[in-house]
Symmetry: C2
Subunit: 332 residues, 2 copies
DNA sequence: TATTGTTATGTAATCGTTTACATTTTATAT
DNA sequence: ATATAAAATGTAAACGATTACATAACAATA
């Protein structure tokens, strides 16, 4: 394996100069630089990144902990992260936790052992103490979720506001019995979307009806199951706001099976705008999260932390958008 | 940052002994080992992986190049890879190429610069020469696809056989006009599935009808578009074998829009068994690839290459399974 | 007890870059 | 030409773990 000293010898310079050509070209005289570049080319020299990382104690790699890589939202966020990372000469190591807390804890060692320069959490079940310990020492950004009283940078959307928007859309179509299937209530996001739904009810002069509110867990199956319960009520809801598209789809499946048509008999709005929302029958009205942008924003924030360890935790709240398709019926 | 020498001093041993306790515990006397372990615990010593990697010129990290992380098949394969990797104390670096050839080439530098110990390609657009150059020097495994005359280890399914199975299922239900929408024909897999389809026709005494064969590119939209063409034929097909579930779904959407019912007027079989196949209306009959197993098998193969650089390229062909749901109609 | 073999530990070189500091070269001003 | 400042380059010491080799401790045997 050809190393820096070989390049140096061939170009009649010292390794210091070769190193400078690579890392600080402007600090080397044009002529010298060319000589060195030529030697590098001739010898097909590839710098040893392991030595480099060791010496600089930086890996130019960041870790992203993903609860579920198969989920469109997360993969889009990852895409945004990657784009920004590559632009800044960083690599992205993906840690797929599969919603398994232990695995998430395992990944933290990558940070502690300085295997990576920083970490982005896309939703996390890690306890606050550990998180505080980590953020005190390493650059960490939390995307999509947020925690109160935490000194951790976050990028998120205003789930409450957009939950309200979604529910308000149904209410503005004249629905009086609007049901809600929430995400798992171990999750701040779920509460926020539900609170938004409640806000909308209040604003339209309607009272909360607990029979119309059911807890799911963001999955298709939970949407399906909870909808069956809702449909067995004496007073069926005429509309549903589901906290995720998957649950909305599950709910629609349950409705169809009972011969209830969507949107005629049941108007549905979801949340997320996953890839299949537009393919689904009927096309799903939903709140589109700017997932890619959230990814880039997270990476940008992380880079600031990496560059400046004293960077104060910041919060970026991005805008979502209600995408109206067929599942909510037409205004009337 | 506490380092090995600190641990050594506290335990009254040399760094060599500490290192041995960490890497070769059985070569150290019980008593000494305990002393060292205690120092490690007391000082909360975390070995510097950068130094370790540099010294051993091994990273215990492998790279997986994924064409599209959002695709269920690929994310499942990744899951299988990760499981096996973690069991063997390896980390997985994900390179999301987004079907962008240039990005794939970029990732290869990670291998050349020994940033990773090996690489798994989940379908690849990299040219044969480059691939040959790499496999000669580094451990590489190709999953899901394969190439002729290549000295590269592969893990795949028998696409031709299973394509035949899918088409044969439709033929055995009595259909005479079975259409096929293939994947992009820049891709071996697409040819194989199509050849399987043709095999099935032959076996059922039917002739190839080119008007019934159309080229898609695995996406929903291409399935939708190609189906529109097929439906405008004088003699409409009564059945369709699509080379991917997404295309099958797109095709079904196109059919529904023309008032053609699935499966009554059009029987459909897809390929892949992605997550949404079971949620779709109607439930999609499809060929389920053992994606997770393919991932593990790839990682196992890669580990063999890493351990033994003289390991001969091997091929593992795994079995797929036809999953019958509603979209193909009942036998009769 | 002396001899030999075995096991456990220590010493110090090594991996290949980077970079603080020292030195040389070049440019600028007098 | 000389003095001084600025720019370019070189020298050599890091970075922190691993490991070949040397040595010491211990055990087994005659």
């Amino acid at each position: 394996m050809v190393k820096m000293i070989d390049v140096a010898k061939r170009a009649n310079v010292s390794t210091a100069t070769v190193s400078r050509v690579l890392r600080n070209p402007e600090s080397v005289k044009e002529l010298t630089r060319e000589k060195v570049m030529q030697s590098i080319a001739e010898l097909n020299y590839q710098p040893n990144v392991l030595a480099r990382h060791f010496r600089r104690s930086k890996t130019n790699t960041i870790l992203v902990i993903v609860p579920n890589i198969a989920n469109t939202i997360f993969s889009q966020m990852v895409q945004g992260i990657e784009e920004t990372a590559v632009q800044n000469n960083y690599r992205v190591l993906l840690g797929n936790s599969n919603r398994n807390v232990e695995k998430e804890y395992d990944f933290l060692d990558l940070l502690r052992q300085r295997h990576v320069d920083g970490m982005i959490l896309l939703s996390s079940r890690i306890d606050i103490d550990t998180l505080n310990e980590l953020t005190a020492q390493f650059p960490v950004v939390l995307a999509s979720e947020y925690l109160n009283n935490m000194s951790i940078s976050t990028v998120r959307i205003d789930n409450r506001k957009h939950g309200k928007e979604a529910a308000a859309h149904l209410l503005s179509l004249g629905h009086k019995r609007v049901a809600h299937i929430s995400g798992g209530l171990n999750n701040r996001i779920s509460f926020d979307r539900q609170d938004g739904y409640l806000d909308a009810l209040t604003e339209h002069g309607l009272k909360r009806d607990n029979r119309l509110i059911r807890e799911g867990d963001f999955t298709f199956t939970s949407g399906y199951n909870q909808m069956q319960e809702l449909l067995s009520l004496r007073d069926r809801p005429t509309a549903l706001f589901a906290a995720s598209d998957e649950m909305a789809m599950g709910a629609i499946k349950a409705a169809k099976e009972k011969g209830i048509n969507v949107p005629e008999d049941l108007a549905v709005v979801g949340f997320d705008n996953i890839r299949f929302s537009s393919f689904f029958e009927p096309g799903l009205t939903t709140v589109a999260q700017p997932a890619v942008e959230m990814g880039s924003a997270s990476m940008e924030l992380l880079l600031e932390h990496i560059k400046d360890p004293n960077f104060k935790p910041a919060e970026r709240v991005l805008k979502s958008e209600l995408i109206v398709r067929e599942s909510c019926g037409l205004k009337g």
